[in-house]
Symmetry: C2
Amino acid sequence: MQRTQFAGMACSIARTLDVIGEPWSPLILRDVYVGINRFDQLQDDLGISRKVLAQRLAWLVEQGVMERRQYSGRPPRHEYVLTTKGRELCDLLLVMVGWGDRWTAGDAGPPVLHRHHACGEIARAELRCSHCGEPMRATDIDVLPGPGAAPAS
Amino acid sequence: MQRTQFAGMACSIARTLDVIGEPWSPLILRDVYVGINRFDQLQDDLGISRKVLAQRLAWLVEQGVMERRQYSGRPPRHEYVLTTKGRELCDLLLVMVGWGDRWTAGDAGPPVLHRHHACGEIARAELRCSHCGEPMRATDIDVLPGPGAAPAS
DNA sequence: TCACTAGGTTCCCTGAAGGAACCCTATCGC
DNA sequence: GCGATAGGGTTCCTTCAGGGAACCTAGTGA
């Protein structure tokens, strides 16, 4: 096996990476999320090789992140749309944007802004605890084995 | 150039991927985050090729995500520790865990649990708006061009 | 009949990932 | 003094994935 497969690891990070960890996949997800839904549009926007684009799209469809939907019968034309699974995956993109804005944007400032529907303001996404609502960063937690942990060997 | 470099794109997602988008990098970050700090420990835990591990560590150090620190002078021994930049990157892992738990964990349940220091409870990380505090998912926002956007061509 | 478009597929070439062996320095046990 | 061991890499070789360009097929329009 050339590239190691992560899917078998007892780790949700590894299993998530197995779905979108390959190069280009998150950018394809981003484009489909913002409404770039067709093969040629994606290829133009990303500058990705058509071969790799076809492979990634097929994989993302297989994983249930996107659907290939026919939007015209004659001539037959297709587009890619996110499933619920894929839309939830976009939360990951939001967090990437947050980190990238903070550490890589430089003087030019962030390339995009997010306006929150609920309050109408330009805002960032923050991580908060599902239990108490206080900020919950990676530095604010203990990591404990869960029910799906690999058996101690 | 073989693999397309994402660093030049006017997109915080692409620039974040340039730092940790390569295969293995997020898993190395996870391991260092949970206290697996030495070369051989990392290699054992991940089953990664030593060559690739050395490359990834050097890149992550170059990017300021980790530091290579000497913890013993005689014999000279080194370990890798996260910088602030790297610790903030771990938030991304938290979100990956959230998605992976929900969509890939299956009947066995999540492999790890997170206990929040502030409240002491087992909890998940949720995305909330930095302005109003309400939930802020990828589906709850409009994406607008920001100051660092690429000039319209 | 010709050209054009969407959506891929096929081909070849290069270079990155995997794996194993090797290397260097330093300490330990004898 | 000498071999064994450990940490932390580096080197070499092989295989396969990414890049790029050309090609293909259905349908449409002129």
